[in-house]
């Protein structure tokens, strides 16, 4: 409490002074400084390291500023242009998996988020917790749990055999089981942002729309959906980006039936010991994600959606 008071005194005393350094301890600077410093020190550095690595020759395993090359970019781009090599396929696969995952999680999450935010009153905490607790277990073991569920002689088999079903096509190692995995793993990242944004819609806004003749569909399309846009955007961004990086998840269930960029990068850094090539692919992945992200965030200005108060 007394620390608070000191802080309080200091912040507001400083606010009145003209010292430019002192303004750093007033909002908004004091609020954004930790994050900015953290990222400048511990994020920009590694990022630069990776970019530098991507222009190192051969199988370099340490940075040598004297030599540099664009051979890895040439290999990747050349391969994509000529249709040789894996990079083109991998890019398409990765984008497709991420896009499908984003759409599927959005479609599945929205109604649930809506129900939680606006329809479910009793036992809401219970429902929320039930949705959260699976996340306390590591991703790979949970996906392995799906494998236990789906494999021959697995849990599913024992369940369906109760209903007399015995012959059904194998579920593992299909393309769609990758989507099952990524959907399963990333759905919370869609569900909770949407839930939050739906939570902040005022009841009266909804009442007014109904009053003006909006049927369910119109209400959804013109009011609820636009007002939940921040959540949808942030959720989609999370899911798309995270599933671009999907590796273990994709592999366990899909049995490698789709080869994704993250697996490929992982592979370059791991088994094939080719850091520069991995870094070059990584820079490629980065460019793709950053461009997507910037486009999305530019087209939709979060602040605009939010200006709800009055002056």
């Amino acid at each position: 409490m007394s620390a608070l008071d000191t802080l309080r005194g200091r912040m507001d005393a400083v606010a009145t002074s003209d010292n430019p350094l002192a303004t750093l301890v007033t909002p908004p600077y004091v609020l954004l400084l930790p994050l900015a410093v953290l990222l400048l020190v511990m994020f920009v550095g590694p990022m630069v390291a990776i970019v530098l690595f991507s222009v190192q020759p051969g199988n370099a395993i340490s940075l040598n500023p004297g030599t540099w090359t664009v051979e890895h970019y040439a290999e990747i781009l050349g391969g994509m242009a000529s249709g040789e090599g894996v990079y083109g396929d991998v890019l398409v696969n990765t984008a497709a998996v991420s896009a499908v995952t984003t759409v599927v999680t959005l479609v599945l999450s929205y109604p649930a988020a809506y129900a939680l935010a606006r329809k479910i009153k009793r036992y809401k905490t219970v429902f929320l917790l039930v949705l959260i607790i699976p996340l306390f277990t590591s991703v790979n073991i949970r996906v392995f749990g799906w494998a236990l569920f789906l494999v021959n002689n697995g849990v599913l088999e024992s369940v369906v055999s109760l209903f007399g079903v015995s012959n059904y096509p194998t579920m593992m190692y299909q393309r769609w089981t990758i989507i099952l995995g990524t959907t399963y793993v990333y759905m919370p990242f869609m569900l909770f942002p949407i839930y939050l944004s739906l939570l902040s819609i005022e009841d009266e806004t909804i009442a007014a729309a109904q009053d003006l003749g909006a049927n369910r569909w119109t209400l959804f399309r013109r009011i609820v959906l636009p007002l939940s846009k921040p959540g949808v955007i942030i959720g989609s961004l999370f899911v798309f980006i995270l599933s671009l990086g999907a590796d273990v998840e994709a592999q366990i269930l899909g049995g490698g039936s789709i080869f994704t960029m993250a697996s490929n990068i992982n592979y370059s850094f791991g088994y094939s010991q080719n850091w520069p090539l991995g870094s070059a692919q990584a820079v490629g992945l980065l460019i793709i994600t950053v461009v997507c992200g910037v486009i999305i965030l530019r087209t939709i200005n979060l602040k605009e959606i939010a200006s709800r108060g009055d002056a």
């Binding site: 005022e202 009266e204 806004t205 009442a207 007014a208 729309a209 109904q210 009053d211 003006l212 003749g213 909006a214 049927n215 119109t218 209400l219 013109r222 009011i223 636009p226 007002l227 846009k229 959606i305 200006s307 709800r308 108060g309 009055d310 002056a311």
Partner: protein, 353 residues
Amino acid sequence: MLQATDLRKEYGSLVAVDDVDLEIETGEFATIVGPSGSGKSTLLHMLAGHLEPSGGTITLDGEDITDTKPQERPTSLVFQSWALFPHMTVRENIEFPIRTTGRSVDGQVETLLEQVQLDPEVQADKQVSELSGGQRQRVALARSLAYDPDILLLDEPLASLDYVLQKQLQRELADLNVELDMTFVYVTHSLEAALVMSDKLFVIDEGDLIQTGPPEEIYREPNNKFIAEFMGDANVFAVDVVDSDGETVTVDSGEFEGSVTVSTPIDDAPEYLVVRHDDCVVEPTLRRAVGAPVHVDNVLVRGNTVLVECSSTTTDDDYVAEVDYDHFESVDIAVGDTAYIQWETEKSILVPE
């Protein structure tokens, strides 16, 4: 005809609307008045379908609509808090109900904005957050009008507007009521609006509907002391009935000189004599039928009228007379004087508690 029977809303132990019965004819301009917190908004929200009644039924032309969804009722509510869509421009807000009803929007937004005295060129494409309070309120009104409802429910739709605009829009609403044959249910705290515009007035207090009738009747023949005072500034005197023959009643009081005999429509024995401020004058001597001796405490000029505030020389009561500026100038009254607040017999309103 919009009809509510035994309509009731409870919030926990608080009865916000207490078994209200009301009938509003198609095309009628019905006004609901009542003190803050008396249940007006609650009632309107139930009529609009946004609030589930705790009891009672609502019928429209005989059909039970108690459980009908808001979007399926031919009603539209102008919310007391406006409830504009924050993510839409003014135009989009107004187009919203036009689109939901599948009509074409062309030109309508402009017409509606003009109807509520907003300049379409300047305001139509603004964000709601860029409007002033009064501008928002008018957009909310225009939006409800755009829905073209059979029944327009208005929850203090002009509260944030200046006097001139209020007048203009009151007139506009009254015209629309007639032109469009739209039923209006209007909640207002503007007595002037209530008195001038309405066909029927409902007075509600603490959730109870305490008087219904044409506004003039309520003004002249209030049911009780509360309504009498609520319908306009008035002085109140406790009275005793000295004679009563069913038609007329005679009262007197220790607080004023003279006894009053008037006809009264009220069944209950009157306990108070109410006389409006603007029916009273203050003059040095008692020159009218009834009057009470007072000290003049304060004199406030209010445009063309003057408020003379005074206190009884015999009791603790305070009284006010609202007199013509000219009249005030013509009699010789100043703060500190002793004088008579006085009025003609027929201005006396006798009411029970």
